[in-house]
Amino acid sequence: MEKEFKSKGAPPRVTALVVAAEARPISLTEGGRARLAIPIREEPNSHRSAEEQKVDGITRRSAMKFMGATMALASGLAACVRKPPRKVISRTSQPEYNHPGQALYYSSTWTDGPFPYGMLVKVQDGRPIKLDGNPDHPINKGTSSAAMQGSLLSLYDPERLRAPKGAASWAAADQQVRGALKTAKKAVLVTRATIGPSERRAISDLRSVYPALRHVVYEPLADETRRSVWRELHGQDGEWLPRFEWASVVLAIECDFLGTDGVELESIQSFSGTRVAETADDTISRLYVVEGGLSLTGTNADHRIRLRPSLAASFVRALRDAVDERTPIDAFAAANDLDAKLLGALVGDLKENRGKAVVVAGAGLPKAAHAATALLNRSLDAFNKTLEWNPQPAGLIANSKAEIEALVEDGVDVLITLGVDVVHSWSAFAKHLSAAKLSVGHGLYLDSTLSACELRLPSHHVLESWNDARPRVGIISLCQPVIMPLYDTRQEAESLLAWASEAPDAAPHTRFRDFLKARLEAEELEVGPGMEVAWETALHQGVILGPTNAFVPAELDVPRAEALAATPLQAGAYELVLTPHSSVWDGRFGLNAWLLEVPDPVTKLMWDNAACMSASTAKRLSVETGYLVKLSTPDGSVELPALVQPGLADGVIMTALGMGRAYASAPDEVFGTNTWPLIPSEGRVQFDISVSPTGEETSLVRSQSEFSMHSRPIVLEATLGEFRANLEAIQEKRSKEHGEPIYEPFKYGGGHKWEMAIDLARCVGCNACVIACQAENNIAIVGKEECGNGREMHWMRIDQYRDPVSHDEDELSFHHQPMLCQQCDYAPCENVCPVNATNHDDEGLNSMVYNRCIGTRYCANNCPYKVRRFNFFNFQKRFVEDPVQKLLFNPQVTVRQIGVMEKCTFCVQRIKGAEFEAARTGSEMSDGVVRTACQQACPASAISFGDVNLRAPAGPAEVAVKQQSARSFLVLEELRVRPNVTYLARLRNEAGEEAPAPKKQAEERGDE
């Protein structure tokens, strides 16, 4: 147990149970605004005598006074500087374990998202300031996603509902609900699919009290189509989990497994693990993506085949026939004019890699496609090899709209929605809410659902809640509060308990904890008297790991599958692919400024969604980017701007769901377009829509406008074959420096030298690092308009480049390149700053002295990587002045003012913290003790960071090793700015070159 406590990268953690229940971490509920200011302690100067303290007869104290006066004067003069007002009030009662300025870490679980990931919360002086993955969590293993990072912002969102509305108090509200439920003939409770076991138990308890109560699950983006097919074909509920680490050939059909389809953090880890080759013997997996839209996965493919989703099912059937050597694929290729050679290669790969190949079909596809895919996987012997059966998916089975409709259409007495904004994605539901005798909405915001409800109850944020989750069999993940509720809110489960029994709420905020604990003790754990210890340990670790033995489902019902796969399907001229939004998912994060502002990894759109279409489709419709088009489907029609997105299949329109939400306070300020009216009853593809330009125009804001590399040495790439034939392939492509510098280069002391390496073979371009950086470094949000003016502040951005692979402008291969300050040894920015505000420290960091900066922006002009960001306005004003929002700030990072330049600092606050700690404890700094925010978040572990001067035994550092890789290169190397960020080239595994088994499998099998 002790060992686990000290698991790598995981700082010492404490359990929150005492925090929440007994010790009362700071609460902001009543007038406690300034209670968070860090108390200022005067330096102890006991070792200095009074005489020593006298300077020319002036004591230090009196000198201070004079200085104080001067300061007052100065600040009076410099009033125009608009320094944010600061109150310094020291806190009387500290949370336990708390040392001022020293962070505490709590394990918890992120239950907001579509999948419950383990979470590690950094709490500074009683306020959560950073979320990361829980290293002990077996699924996300310490990594995190953008959405996960982002939910920190929503905790401090001033727009949150702060007290019950529609009832005087919680007690009154409970009374009302209980009363209504008692008398109700028909009551319906609507919840999300991803509620935890204890919440489910609370619901069943509630239903046992009120038999009239029905529980329906509304999850518009649930994996229901796919899951129902599996249920049908295997005769039992469950899901097939792709095991990419075992696969040498992956075929994704309209499936964004690296982005929005499935457990992306796990998929990214396992997939990118198979993409790295260092020696001539190494090999990597080969990814084929067949899609009509353009997904993040598609941009990472070795080969993309553009295929309309309506053909997906028949394509998979044709593949199966080819793999089983019934009919060759050429017929299909000819019929749909696809590259027969490429398809042949695909078939070849699949055949050669039976048991080592996996085919995944996107959750959006209709049943036929999934049935066909199941059959193909069967032919490929993928089941229980590259596909693993999970009999117990994290989410409940979601009810279809039809089922819910049927239940509520003839009126209900009580209609309760728990933490799900139904109306946003299903506007018709509003009338049912108003029809109900009593409608109750429980949620974070006064969203479209709550506004339609009679009783509007504010929920806890996940960071204020107790909860548990069962992501997989044998994994119980616990969620504990890390801050006392900011407002007079209550988590949904608490409400359920309160409604179930008349008993007054004795211990607020801990009732559900006790319920949960009791349930665990009774159902999950066999600990007997040791419960307390087990409980504390569990909270400490954040997860309880049980036995996970492989489950083998019932045999696939082949005839049934073949029947289902053959379901005919007619498609029209235009097809519509609706995808979850890359960061706001189904819209549940649609009010989160971080997630709205982060550019979509594929379209680079900010604060918006659009109707993406291939260049030729755009020509056919004679529209250009920004033109409004009207998409009409049987289910509804929507007008939204077009976006010419090369790479889509012709005749396919792709757009993201989940946008188009607005704060209740500013209903006109809508972010993007709500495309939910277009959603079909099954799957997420409309096979026959009509598209008509409206003739109007609007402006789309994108973080990037040019996607061609203009044959510059920015991203280097080689094919696997090329690389294995010649390990110097990348090195030969490097752009070399010319000539000699006129100066003697600066000599470093030989102390620490911090450098970074980014492996583009691993990076898939998800935005985790961008938001992690934003959260860690107090990076400002600028809003859509300023993004449009090119003033976004992200210190880290992900550049996207596209190479044509054929004459067709829609046939492209993509590159993602995380770009951040390269901390150049010969930094061009430093030479031109007139006031030395940016200079070099002796550890190789290009430091930025905000206080000294006068904002000439010369450094930004002279930065070849354009990674410097300027505060054109007082962007942080809103946050600094808001008593709640300012709690978000990381106290170790300066909040930059107007007129100041800023940029990535390699998380210097973390470096200095670690160095200080090492100095304090007199210990050597080992590799990995300093991890940058981006590195910590990265699910692909593409980023390595460390001290290249680290010597044995502690060293050499991982980054130093990577710098020696045959794939290493520097961006714009010939400029001789000597960047300290080394990139490792991505290798494309082209068809035709054989793709032997990946390392992992080789080891297992012991062959080669």
């Binding site: 006129i742 100066y743 600066f746 040894d825 930094a827 061009p828 030479n831 030395n836 200079n839 070099h840």
Partner: protein, 217 residues
């Protein structure tokens, strides 16, 4: 003696010699009778060349305390007056070089000694980058030196001279050329006028200086 006052033709209440103070004194009014003393004699020419000739005569007569006043620099007058070369450029330039040296020293001290900061991988004393400022400071110091030495050498900044008092200046600054023999010179005698007459000057006047003109200014 009040004759000169009339002769000098000072503005003010000439006939009001009773000393009674007029009602409403205006700025520049002569409220009290001024006291004047003769400081020399001035000869006025209309032709610069005549002046040059006269100057040569005076020079050859061995006068020291004398000067010419002209609306613009007259060719050959320096020679005619026997003036040597001005030392001004030497002084100004040496100041300039001092400035340059100081500038270079300042840059060295500030970037390499007082607070060494590591910039762009360059050495602390990266002298090529320090050249422009060194040059500019050379120019600045030379310019300042020129002006200051100029003021000092041209005796500027003394706002008052006999020429001003005895309205000759107005004529000189417009178009006439004056030669002044000062009473301070040891060759000075009442016969000094004759020297000018011989030089062909038709308009010779005594030159008075207000010891105390009673103006409010």
């Amino acid at each position: 003696m009040n004759k000169p006052i009339v002769e000098v033709g000072t503005v003010g209440l000439v006939d009001d010699l009773s000393g009674t103070i007029p009602s409403k004194p205006k700025l520049g009014d002569k409220l009290l009778e001024g006291k004047q003393e003769k400081v020399g004699v001035v000869g006025l020419f209309d032709d610069p060349h005549a002046l040059v000739k006269a100057a040569e005569k005076v020079r050859d007569a061995g006068w020291k305390q004398w000067d010419c006043h002209t609306p613009f620099p007259v060719h050959g007058l320096d020679a005619a007056m026997g003036l040597g070369w001005s030392k001004l450029p030497t002084i100004a330039l040496s100041l300039g070089f001092t400035g340059a040296a100081l500038a270079l020293l300042m840059q060295y001290w500030m970037s390499a000694v007082s607070y060494p900061v590591h910039i762009g991988g360059k050495p602390l004393f990266s002298w090529p980058a320090f050249v422009p400022i060194t040059f500019e400071m050379f120019v600045l110091f030379t310019a300042a030196g020129t002006v200051l030495t100029g003021l000092w050498m041209c005796k500027l900044g003394r706002w008052h001279s006999p020429l001003h008092d005895s309205g000759v200046m107005a004529e000189v600054s417009s178009s006439r050329f004056a030669l002044v023999l000062s009473a301070k010179d040891e060759l000075w005698s009442d016969g000094a006028r004759s020297l000018l007459d011989e030089a062909g000057c038709t308009d010779v006047r005594d030159l008075f200086e207000d010891v105390d003109d009673g103006r409010i200014l």
